[in-house]
């Protein structure tokens, strides 16, 4: 691999052991993938924040690295935590977990990382411009950054993203190379796909079929994404929420890091992004997918909106559905703290709380220690959450649109 004199000096330890280790990680991955050289990154999103996943192993490693002097060189945001850092008692988590969780975030902030604790960094200020090179982890954010924002990032892991932040560089391979951004699969959609619910189900269906390929959707009726004055993608909030849910589903049932929508996403508006000899997939119905995401449960203990983290518009929709009602099921709307603050200003947090729900900042049900709590069943509008509920949280799940989820919240029962 070709390194500049400065990069070679960093790898040799000129700036100390912390940067040296980061360079070792980045160059090792470059060697694994045959990268020709390194490129600077504009921002980093670091996953591996919940203590439940990271454990003492990751906590100790990060504490050691921070103590060695590791500091991020580029704007770096943090993935969701296992809990709301202010309301974890209301969520029901233990003192032991909370203490460890606080230590995890402290190790990251010691390295200069912003404790954003969200999987939607692009909604709270870390919004890359089209064409920028990034090193992001968190599969739902990666697929959004590549597809909706037209930035360039591989599907980094937590440690490799952190290494890229500490040396400000990543190896140039994978989706940093133009030829790898062409679609491997053409997805012809013949059934109506209009609601967020349908986009989400489509993502889940297609992710299973394309694995780590790049799908290009043909026949989806959405207005083209435009470039805002700041050079980053701009789109209406309902389309944004639909594409966010679809991408998260593609990245969880498969390992999709990039999709195109012909005539809609920025890279696929003026030229075909379909590569040579694509696999052809036709989608005629979403009903079997929706059925597959629903366990045969009637009683709902917990309703989760916000996987990926809820946008301001989604929180507004929940508040409208719950206005003046009382919930039998627990309701968690998970989001970024900055988005929660905006929702609070509009009175939506108070309305949701008056109905018995919680607007959870920082946290995520997929990575939370849900087995500490007594829930058995869950309803959600996210295929990712529905599919991960059982293996990650021990909960059986229902998947429906936001209104169906809110009806279940009020009655405590799922209307099939």
């Amino acid at each position: 691999m070709q390194l500049s004199d400065y990069e070679a000096a960093l790898l040799a330890g000129q700036e100390g052991p912390a940067v040296q280790r980061a360079m070792q990680i980045v160059t090792t991955l470059g060697r694994v993938y045959g990268a020709p050289d390194l490129i600077p990154v504009a921002s980093v999103q670091v996953a591996g924040v919940s203590y439940r996943n990271l454990g003492d192993a990751g906590l100790e490693f990060n504490q050691d690295w921070a103590a060695q002097g590791a500091r991020v060189q580029v704007p770096t945001t943090l993935n969701p935590s296992g809990m709301d850092h202010k309301q974890w008692r209301e969520q029901g988590f233990s003192e032991d977990f909370a203490a460890k969780q606080v230590a995890v975030v402290a190790a990251y902030t010691a390295m200069g990382i912003m404790p954003t604790c969200t999987c939607i960094p692009y909604e709270i200020g870390n919004r890359p411009r089209a064409g920028q090179s990034l090193a992001w982890s968190e599969s739902s954010a990666v697929v959004y950054a590549n597809s909706v924002l037209a930035a360039h990032t591989n599907r980094e892991g937590g440690p490799s993203a952190l290494a890229a932040a500490i040396c400000g560089r990543t190896a140039r391979y994978g989706l940093h190379l133009p030829q790898n951004r062409l679609a491997t699969h053409r997805i012809t959609v013949r059934c109506p796909v209009r609601t967020s619910h349908e986009f989400a189900a489509l993502g889940y269906l297609v992710g299973k079929q394309v694995g780590d390929g790049v799908p290009c959707f043909v026949g989806l009726e959405l207005p083209p994404i435009t470039l805002g004055v700041d050079g980053s993608a701009s789109l209406a909030s309902d389309h944004n929420d639909a594409l966010k849910l679809m991408g998260a589903a593609l990245a969880s049932s498969g390992a999709v890091a990039l999709y195109h929508v012909e005539g809609v996403t920025l890279e696929a508006q003026n030229e075909s992004m379909v590569g040579p000899a694509p696999h052809e997939i036709t989608v005629d119905s979403l009903a079997p997918t929706i059925a597959e995401l629903n366990h045969a449960i009637d009683q709902i203990d917990l309703v989760v909106i916000g996987c990926p983290h809820a946008s301001l518009a989604e929180i507004g929709a929940v508040a409208e559905e719950l206005r003046g009602k009382k919930c039998r099921a627990q309701v968690w709307v998970t989001t970024a703290r900055a988005v929660r603050d905006q929702a609070a200003e509009r009175g939506w947090v108070a309305e949701i709380e008056a109905a018995g729900g919680l607007v959870v900042a920082d946290g995520c049900v997929v990575v939370a220690p849900m087995r500490e709590l007594c829930y058995r069943t869950l309803a959600t509008n996210s295929p990712k959450m529905a599919a991960y509920a059982l293996p990650h949280a021990g909960l059986q799940a229902r998947f429906g649109d936001l209104s169906a989820c809110m009806r279940a919240a009020v009655t405590g029962c799922w209307e099939a």
Binding site: R21, Q24, I25, T28, L29, R31, V32, A47, G48, N53, L54, G55, D56, A57, G58, E60, F61, S137, E156, G157, G158, P159, S160, A163
Partner: protein
Amino acid sequence: MGTHLQGRAIVEGQAKGLALVSRTPISFLGGVDGERGIITETDHPLYGESVAGRILVFPHGKGSTVGSYVIYRLARAGLAPAAIINVSTEPIVAVGALIADIPLVDQVDISQIETGMPVSLEGADITLG
């Protein structure tokens, strides 16, 4: 002398030990206990085996990238494999082996290696028997 295999050294080093071979991928997060060094994925063919001091041979890693830290934890607990041999390594194992200082070689035809065989490894060179 035994059979020689040549791979690609991802983390350079030397090691000797008895092979522990999995024909299926290994998930370190949730699949290996970092405190005890035991494979805990219930339907894995190596369920219950200890990786400590073994030449751990498997196609590639799978699952969460947090698995890299489990490999680091194994090393801190003195329960790390002596070396890792993969068919095609990926970031979980590559980063884990690097931060735990475990020699790692990939692009190896692992069909020739059986559990229990003595294996010695130096850089990209592997000797069986």
